[in-house]
């Protein structure tokens, strides 16, 4: 169980404000990406965020471009999870593939305030805020494997090595 402070935003937070397009092919190093996280939404975000913090948002978080940097910059900024009412499809996949948990809970978003300190229990599928405990559905098995491996590249590497041994 990890504690973290909540940074709360609205609906339809798109990948351009999470990680601006002008950096997508010039910044390739994850820690540098983190310095530009949410730059066009909340310009001081990278300075004020602390490891273990949580992003909370409304519906359709991560809509727009397929750029995986949107997930990478949040992960390397120390974000432990993104909690939203819903996620855009490609961002959802990218986050999982980067080992960044993306949790869907309308209730948590409705009831938890900006800057509140919360705890997430991944094993139980619970988010604990000051006003109550909110459930999120556990991940399907295929997705859990990728998250546990720390992302898709590590997961694929493991699979390729297993295959080699079998051959």
């Amino acid at each position: 169980m990890k504690k973290g402070r909540v940074w709360k935003y609205g609906d339809d937070i798109n990948t351009d404000v999470i990680f601006p397009g002008k950096y997508t092919y010039s910044i390739l190093e994850p820690n540098q990406m983190a310095q530009h996280a949410l730059e066009d939404l909340d310009p001081d975000f990278a300075e004020k965020v602390n490891p273990g913090d949580v992003i909370m948002a409304g519906k359709n978080f991560g809509c727009g471009s397929s750029r995986e940097q949107a997930a990478i910059c949040l992960k390397y900024a120390g974000i432990q999870a993104v909690v939203a009412k819903s996620f855009a499809r490609i961002f959802f996949r990218n986050a999982i593939n980067q080992g960044l948990p993306v949790l869907q809970s309308e209730e948590a978003v409705e009831n938890i305030e900006d800057r509140e300190e919360i705890e997430i229990d991944f094993a139980k599928g619970e988010i604990k805020g000051s006003k109550g405990i909110y459930k999120f559905s556990p991940f399907p098995k295929s997705v859990l494997g990728i998250l546990e491996a720390g992302g898709l590249i590590a997961y694929t590497k493991k699979k390729l090595e297993q295959k080699k041994e079998e051959d």
Binding site: K22, Y25, G64, S65, R89, I90, S142, I153
Partner: protein
Amino acid sequence: MAQTFSEKIFSLKARRDVKAGEVVIVSPDYLLSHDNAAAIIQEFNKLGIKQVKNPQKIVIILDHVVPASTEKYAQNHQLIRKFVASQKLQNFFDINCGICHQVFSEKGFALPGKLILGSDSHTTSYGAFGAFAAGIGRSEVASLWAMDEIWLKVPETIKIELAGKLPPGVYTKDVILKIIGEQGADKANYKAVEFSGEAAKNFSLASRLTMTNMAAELGAKNGYFIPNEETIHFLEERKKEDYQIISSDDEAEFEEIIQVDVSSIEPQVACPHTVDKVKPVSEVVGTKFHQALIGTCTNGRLEDLRIAAKVLKGKKVHPAVRVLVIPASQETYRVSMKEGIMEIFSAAGCVVLNPGCGPCLGAHQGILAPAEVALSTANRNFRGRMGSRDSEIYLASPATVAASSLHGEITDPRTFL
């Protein structure tokens, strides 16, 4: 059992009957990437294997920042060229070809009944050819290069039935903007969208591509049209391989059917800073702007350039605006030159740029300064996308952008007909 297009194509790929909601492990027919191939190569290199599994499936088209505008971009392109040579990839298109979605289509990879995945959110475009085409992330492309398989959920389908006939001065760009404005940017999240109805039958291939391209702005996993005669004819000389047309059964189960009468639509404009903030042109007429963009994977095709040129012919763009024109591909560029379209743009005072993504993603060729406003034929108007976070972007059809360029403010294109 009656099936949707999506259920049929995934049943074929998974070699068993599947229904919407099921997760399948599949191999795509083609796998697109662009300048982000540089980042994909870095991920691939972490996998500990030397060779990609199926080189003939990999298509790489450089378009995002072409030619390279900085040393860093140049290094990315260099890395990609070296990888292409060492892996002996045949389907590589360098900086002299055009926007990936247009080149991919012209070179005959976008085929009916194929499963196409790409590390670009507008991969949905190829649904205009009757393909299932979806955007994925770059880790997934790296993993696919190595394993040639991926998990995907078979999506539910929203059918959009288009009735009526487009009025003069109104185009499919206006239709899709109207739909996005009414339905919202997450309407089709995780879902497939199928465009059908009498009006859809008559839409040209180029104008179908505008709609499937922007299906991504509804959150859709793919957008689909049943291929018509024009599509089949277009593919005759270009197709990379044989194909099979797949379409939904009449009795298939659709999650929702949305009816749209295109006869009553007027030109539409998406306002800052989201694509679903759409207004009829009459409500934004008079809005001043500094830069116009006619081009992109949404509206940079020959049909679009012809429409814009017709409006601009023999006239001069307003001295307070900079008008950028970008043909979607070299093929588009060459035909436009032969037709005298480039002459018209040049004489009108436009800046014609080389085929590519141009300033659409804010990397080069016309970055916006703070407080500047752009009017563009592109598909996205998110804050800061074309430059300063304090700039604004409006989206409209090529006709609206061309007409507005003459006045230096948003103008109803129907006044020019």
